[in-house]
Structures are given as C-alpha cells and as structure tokens.
Amino acid sequence: MFGLKADWSLEVFERYFTIGDYAGGEARWCPGCGDHAVLSAAQRVLRDEQQKPELSVCVSGIGCSSRMPHYLGTYGFHGLHGRALPLACGVKSRRPDLDVWVATGDGDCFSIGTAHWIHALRYNMNMTLMVFDNAIYGLTKAQTSPTSPIGLKTNTHPFGAIIKPHNPLTVTLGVTNVSFVAQVVDWSPPLLYETLRAAYRHRGTGFVRIIQRCPVYAEKVSKELQADPSRFLLLEHEQGVRVDPGVQHQFPERLEHDPSNLVRAFELCADQSRIPIGLIYHNPDAPCYEDMSSQGIEMTSNERLKRFDALLDRITI
C-alpha cells in the first residue's frame, strides 16, 4: 500500500518475531520501579500479537515512564512534556496502518497534558494509552503530582500534599466517546498483560491507568496498597479481561461487572473505599477519528493533481 517492496508485502515465508525483536536500549529505570513490569508486558503483547516492529510506534511525553520508547525495538517518538497525545494522534491521522502506543505518566497526562488527555479520548483514535501513575514526579525528583494522596511529603509540599488527589477515572469516564477504560497495578503481571492485550485489541483509544510503584520517591503509597489487597476490587465479566486463578488469589475481593455499563462504571470509580481493577468500561463501537482524518490517503499523486487542476478551473476568471 505504501510502496512496500514485493518481498515484504508477499510475506512468502512468515517472519516470526521474538521478544528480542521488541527490545531496544537497556532500561535505565531504578531497581524496583514498576515501569519494568509494564515494559515486559507490552513486549509480550507485541510478541504474542506478532505485531511487525516496523509498523509500531511508541509515543511518549516527558517523565520516567516516557523513557519507554527508548527501550522498545519499534519506532519511537519521545516528545514533549504533556504532549504525547497530540503527537500520537498526528502519527495515526494519515497513517492508520501504524500501530500506536502511548506511554505517559500522572504528571504528563493528568497535569500538564490535561487538555490533550480529554480531547484524545474524544477523538478515540486506535491506540493503546498507558498512563503510568506512581502519584509522584520522579524524573524531576519528588514533586507533588495530581494523584499524590493528601499528606504525602514531597519536595514541593514538604509538610504533606495539601489538596485531595485528582480522580482520573471519573474524569476519563465523563468524556464523550470514551471507549475503553481499565485500571491495573504493576505488581500483577498476568492482569497487566491481559489488560494491555485487551487495550491493544480494542479498536479505539485503550486507556489503561497503571498504578505503579516508585520505590524511590513514593514508596509509602504503593507499600500501603501492596500490604492490603482488600483495598482492591477485581472486576470480572465474560466481556472483561481474562482473569486467571492466580490473580483471583492475589485480589480476593471480586465483583461481577458488565463493562458496557457506563453508569455502574462511574459508581465504581467514584467510590473511594475500593480501587477497581480490570476492565471498567468498554464500548467497542465508538467512532474513531482516523476514519475521518485519513480520508483520501489512497488517492494517487496523479489523481490529486488532476483534481487540484479542476479546482483551479473553478476559480479561473
């Protein structure tokens, strides 16, 4: 379609991709950082889906999590703070054949990139959107993030964060045309993998908030969560993500939840007593913006030229 050489487009002998085909530079995240788990899960999804690495692009903003493209073997775009989504949407706009992943964080997406988060959900372009939420600014060394719990001591709030944290899930669910909302924790690799795979397979923006450990600057936050699995509510449904017995064992509090039920999804996310994990909301039929923005991509140069000439005729005096 885009001038592929015959030997590639024919695929006479199947190329088989291993995890190594999705590996880039060596990950430089801190030991114990939850980002390593996300990277491995994403690489496994790519391998299991046999996604051609050259047709995959990982776009990111700025922050610890936004280093992810450097550690993948796909194309990558390490952009600007808060601006991963406009860049990613632009990549997809005239190249719907490209598989797009977005790596962003709580500061990147829920603070400086807020406008783009809201509007990208509305565009609902087909991409996998991973928000690594560790409730802290890590790369700039321990400033309060929009999801830092009240009282968390940071360098910008040394006496403790002074306002209540943002609830990104209720905001996300409130956006028109939102199509896939899930939440996971980095310390449940099987659930993380299954959720990312479901987001990858979903046609539209697969929004996955990943509650993620920062052992260096916000250890307290994740330690408390890890110590008390009853804080979580594992969502299960035949239309949800696959949950294996190990995950059920890890999260004993479980709830049957139909992900097509937006009102119930909102209630679950607004309820501060439990943290829902799994697939919260899913609408497989929401329109995707690239179906409109890519109109005309099949037009040949000759055709374009001919039509432009005809257009000029109309304004020729």
């Binding site: 885009f2 050259e54 632009g90 923005s293 109109q295 005309g296």
Partner: protein
C-alpha cells in the same frame, strides 16, 4: 470564475455594456473606490464582486476589506466602520494605494474613522445615504447635519442620495439588499460590463434559490438606473495592455486562500490548526475544498496540539502544515524547537497581526520576524521565508514543503493581515508533479545507516519513516547522537547543533543574491520584506521619476539570508529598512544611538552586515501606502542634503 447557471433575460438588453449615452465620460488610468457601512450591510460582498468584474474586464485590481475588530459593533459608530476598498487600474496593481477617489457610505459616522486614518483627500467624492437627514431621532439628524458640514469643510464632495428609499421600492428590508443596489451604481459610474456583473452576482449567490439571484439582479438594475439619473459623471478605466493578459489565465483570491491553494498544490494532505485571527480563513477555505484532493483539516483543541498533531503526521512520513498568527506562534514555540531538534519537516504559516499579546487581531504588522528566528530557548535554526505578494502566498507554500522535506526541518512562511485580506487577480498556477510530495517511502532501511547520517559538509541526512523495516529509531527532543541515542556528552551536543546549523549554510549556498529595484547604486536604498513590496516599489518609482537616486531591495529569505547583501548595500549612500513593526524614533526623548531599538529586519541586517543600517517603521495597524513611503524617502533625502528640483510636484 465559473459561469452563472442561470441567465435571466433582460428585457431590452442591448449589447454587453450599459451604453446609454452620457456626455461626460472621463477616461482615467486608475481609481480607488471604497464602500463603508456598519457591520453586516454587505459592503464587502458588493466590493469583491465589483473587483472581480473589473479583473474579468482585464483591469489591474487590489481589494482590501475594512474590518472592525468586533463582530457586531454598535450601529453608526466611527469604530464600527466595516467595508471594502477597491483599487482598479489600467495597469497591474500591487497594493491598496493612497487616498480614495470615490466613497459610498451607508451612514456618515463610519466615515469619521476613515477620515482619521487619512483614507480621503480634498476632492474625494462621497455618495452618502441621506435617510439620516429625516431620522425620527433628533440626535441622529443633528449628527448627520454636522458631519456633512464638516466633511464639506474638509474638502470632501458629498452627494446626499436616497439609496435606501430607492431600494425600498424593491424590497421591504433594504438593509439586506442595498449592497447590490450600490454595486449597480458603481458599475454605472465606472462603465463596468453589465453582463459580467450579473454573471458574477449569480455566482456569488449560487447556493441560494433562483429567486434570490433574481432579486439581487433587480436591485442591481435599480442601482444602475438610479446612478444614471443621479450621477452626471462616468469614468472609463481601460483594461491593461493586451500583452499583460492575453493568452494568460488568472485566478482571483486573497492571500489566505492562496495559502490554502498552495497547501493543495504542494501535496500536503493535512492542515492542523486552531482558530486565530487573521489566519483562520485559510483553513476555512481548505475545509471547504480540501477533501476533493484527498486532504483533511484537523481543528485541534489548542495551538500546541495543532502543531503537535502536524509534527506527528510529518514524523510518520506525511509532512503537514499548521497555520497560525502571533499568539499561536508563541504557544507553538516548544513544539517548533522539538521539530528543529529532531529534524522533523513541518510547514508553519504565520499570518502576522499586531502584537504583542492579543494586540490588534485584525490589523497588519510585521512584528513576528524575530520571534520566528529566535523565539526558542537554545539555538533553533530553521528556514524562514516571507511572501511578498498574494501569488507568493501560494507558491511559497509549495517551496516551504519542498525545503522542509529536503532539509529535514521546519519552515516558517510569513504572511500578514494585509496579504490575508487583500484580493487580486494573478496568474493561475499550472500544477506540476514536481510540486507534490512523493509517496511515503516504505522500502527497507539499510541498517548500517544511522537515523541521522549527517553529511559533515551540509548537515543533511536521509530520514527513516515508520513502516520502513530496519529503520526503527527513537526520535527525541533530548540531545542525541547520530543514532538518535540520548547523549549528554559535550561532543554529541556540539555536533548536533553544528549539523542543524550547517543545513542553513547549505541552503544559503544555493540562493541567488536579491535583485535591486531601480539603479544598483544611488543615495538611498530601502530594504523590505513581506507584504510591503508593492507599496514600496510604487513609492520608489515615484521618487525615481522625480529624479531621486533611490532604489529598493526586497528580501524573501530571512533565514538563511540571501547572499551578497553587503555588496549591494555598499553601493548606496544610506540603507534603511521600511517595515510595519515598532522601532524607536531617533528624535524621541532619551533615544540615542545606544538606546535606540530598531525595526526587526534592521536588527538582523545590522548584525548580518556590520553596517549602519537605519530604519523607518510604524505600527499604525494598516498597510503601508505608497504616499506615506514617498514622504519618508523625501524626508530622508532632505536630511542627507540630497534634493532635486522637482518643480514642486512631490
């Protein structure tokens, strides 16, 4: 323009022109006509139609809209003046000219602001709606009487005419239809081709029902008849010499439409924008027609997202365009730096308006030059070019796309509110396959070639495009090696910066020196850029005709600069830029050689040539006019002791 689909039969129509014999027909070389009104009275539509008819008759034409800053300013307020100026001539026209010769005014108050900007002269004929004389509100009657008296005292020749009354015989709400009536009046006054005018009206209303077209034709005819009855003078403005027009095809657009046409001609498939005055109409035009050539206008959530979206598309192999004005340019700065740093092609069109901050949204200024060159923290070399004419607004987009791809860089194309709103006929482009971007290359990338395989001579490098097997790399705005690996070491950063800078030197080496308008040596050289070309050359021609040794030089490339400037400048006694941006008046309080802040091109040229380049600039919010520049020339020459005896005709 496309032919009218309906062709109403005129009873008793004979021939193509209104040939009714009137004794007093004056043949003239050019005239400037204005229609001024409250907002929403259709003056602009009437004026554009008048301009297009004149263009179709072979005249040189420039029209420019008079735009109030508010959508619905209060009626009958001087600040609410809305309307249009049409300059039509027997020669090619490059600018809006000086004072108007004929003005049609729908009320007397709107004339005040035009008088204040010096739009009129002694002897300007004003055809004034007279219904205010009998207005039920005593205050309005008094205002009207006072204004008419003042205008006459100031030398305007005011004809009070019952325009609305005459329209009321045709329609109950003449406010909505008198523009076509006035068009009829002007077509009589300037001996326009009636058939062409009616065709043009039909084209203007082609989306409306047939009865709407018929009503407008009726109003037009009534205007013709009214003018025949009330106006004793008629003018004839012959077409341009046949060699200027014969065998050539023309299109009539404003500069923003020209930008839209350029986008399509360049093969770009995406314009990503956020609404901002005066840039937006380029996107309006594209939004109407872009899909016909397989393109798409993305209206982003903000200016940053607009440029980010375009950069994303460019990264993926489809070089895209974003169009904005000053405040939007400021917001795009960080993204622009990213495109420079990561060497992503991008076309950024900046339609300049008055600044700083929200400034003068609808008015012209050339105040964004230095922001385009130096707006980003750090060193961010990029190509900056400026269109001098409406036609160049079209062709420079094509050039910008090609430069962006060839040099792997953002290219800024500067336009301004003057070009954006000016309308004129110019040569129809004949599209060429060379203008289009080639299809996205998806062949296998040679893995031994790094993603930034800089040629040390030129800084140029081929670019891997997502989809190319083996080309996988991570684009980053961080300092990076030629492998696009993040690198904080000193050598990598120094090398990256020099390679990006080298590209400008490589481009400069391909440019020709600019051509001097007039003699290549003399007393005074005016240097300019952007939309001021026509007005400046006209002023220089006048001064030359008076025997002054003055020439002008117009720059299209601002980064890199065209070569040979120092040599050109050295042959003139004095070199000064003429610009529409702020500079300190050398005679103002506290201003010395040390404290004086120069106009933007003057700063650049002083640094570029180490020569004492002077400047004249102003930020009145309106386009430069030949008369104004002519005065500047004479003042400077007088100050230099260079005068000629021109017999007092200056």
């Amino acid at each position: 323009m496309s032919r009218a689909t309906t062709s109403p039969q005129e009873p008793g129509a004979q021939g193509e022109t209104d040939t009714e014999a009137v004794a007093d027909v004056q043949c003239i070389g050019e005239h400037i006509v204005e229609i001024v009104s409250d907002s929403g009275e259709g003056a602009q539509k009437a004026g554009q139609t008048f301009g297009t008819v004149s263009a179709r008759m072979g005249n040189g034409v420039w029209t420019v809209e008079i735009i109030p800053a508010e959508i619905q300013p209060p009626a009958r307020s001087p600040a609410g003046a809305s309307g249009i100026r049409i300059r039509l001539a027997s020669h090619y026209v490059t600018n809006m000219g000086d004072e108007a010769d004929t003005v049609v005014a729908f009320n007397e108050q709107v004339l005040y602001s035009r008088v204040a900007t010096g739009a009129y002269k002694k002897g300007t004929v004003v055809l004034l709606e007279d219904k205010w004389r009998e207005d039920p509100v005593p205050e309005i009657r008094a205002q009207y009487a006072k204004a008419v008296m003042e205008f006459r005292e100031n030398g305007l020749i005011v004809h009070e005419l019952p325009i609305e009354n005459a329209c009321r015989e045709i329609m109950s709400n003449p406010r909505r239809g008198k523009n076509m009536f006035v068009l009829g009046m002007l077509c009589h006054l300037y001996s326009r081709d009636i058939r062409k005018a009616k065709d043009e009206i039909a084209t203007t209303f082609k989306r409306k029902k047939a009865d709407v077209i018929a009503l407008n034709h009726e109003l037009f005819d009534a205007g013709l008849a009214f003018a025949t009855e009330h106006l004793k003078t008629r003018y004839e403005i012959p077409p341009q010499p046949p060699e200027e027009t014969e065998g050539k095809r023309f299109i009539v657009t404003n500069g923003n439409q020209a930008v839209g046409l350029g986008v399509m001609a360049s093969g770009m498939e995406l314009v990503s924008m956020y609404p901002i005055t005066p840039a937006t109409s380029a996107s309006h035009y594209l939004a109407e027609v872009f899909q016909e050539v397989g393109g798409f206008v993305h209206q982003a959530e903000d200016e940053i997202a607009a440029v980010g979206f375009a950069i994303g598309s460019s990264f993926a192999g489809k070089t895209a365009c974003t169009i904005t004005s000053g405040p939007g340019l400021a917001l795009k700065t960080e993204m622009l730096a990213l495109a420079v740093m990561a060497e992503v092609p991008l076309v950024l069109v900046v339609v300049q308006r008055g600044g700083p901050s929200t400034g003068l949204p609808t008015k012209v200024e050339q105040g964004d030059l230095l922001a385009c060159l130096y707006g980003e923290p750090g060193d961010a070399p990029k190509v900056v070019i400026a269109a001098a004419t409406i036609q160049e607004c079209l062709h420079f987009v094509i050039m910008a796309r090609r430069l962006a791809d060839a040099f792997r860089t953002p290219v800024i194309l500067l336009s301004d509110a003057n070009l954006a709103t000016g309308v004129q006929p110019y040569l129809r482009p004949e599209p060429s396959p060379d203008w289009l971007a080639p299809p996205v290359d998806q062949s296998e990338w040679d893995r031994s070639v790094p993603p930034y395989d800089w040629d040390p001579e030129t800084g140029l490098s081929p670019r891997p495009i997502p989809g190319m097997p083996g080309g996988q790399y991570i684009l980053t705005g961080l300092a990076h090696t030629n492998q696009s690996k993040v690198a904080y070491d000193s050598d990598s950063n120094q090398l990256g910066c020099s390679m990006r800078s080298r590209k400008l030197a490589a481009l400069a080496s391909t440019l020709n020196p600019p051509v001097v308008h007039g003699d290549v040596e003399g007393d005074l050289l005016l240097v300019s850029w952007g939309s001021t070309l026509g007005a400046i050359e006209e002023a220089v021609d006048r001064a030359q005709a008076q025997g002054h040794r003055v020439s002008s030089l117009h720059l299209r490339f601002l980064s890199p600069m065209e070569p040979g400037l120092k040599e050109i400048f050295a042959r003139f006694g004095k070199v000064m830029t003429v610009e529409i941006n702020y500079s300190d008046d050398p005679d103002a309080p506290l201003i010395t050689d040390e404290t004086r802040r120069y106009a933007q091109l003057a700063w650049l040229l002083r640094a570029h040539t180490l020569m004492d380049i002077d400047c004249w600039s102003a930020v009145y919010g309106h386009p430069l006019q030949p008369g104004m520049i002519h005065n500047v020339i004479l003042e400077r020459l007088t100050a230099m002791g260079k005068t000629v005896d021109d017999g007092g005709n200056a």
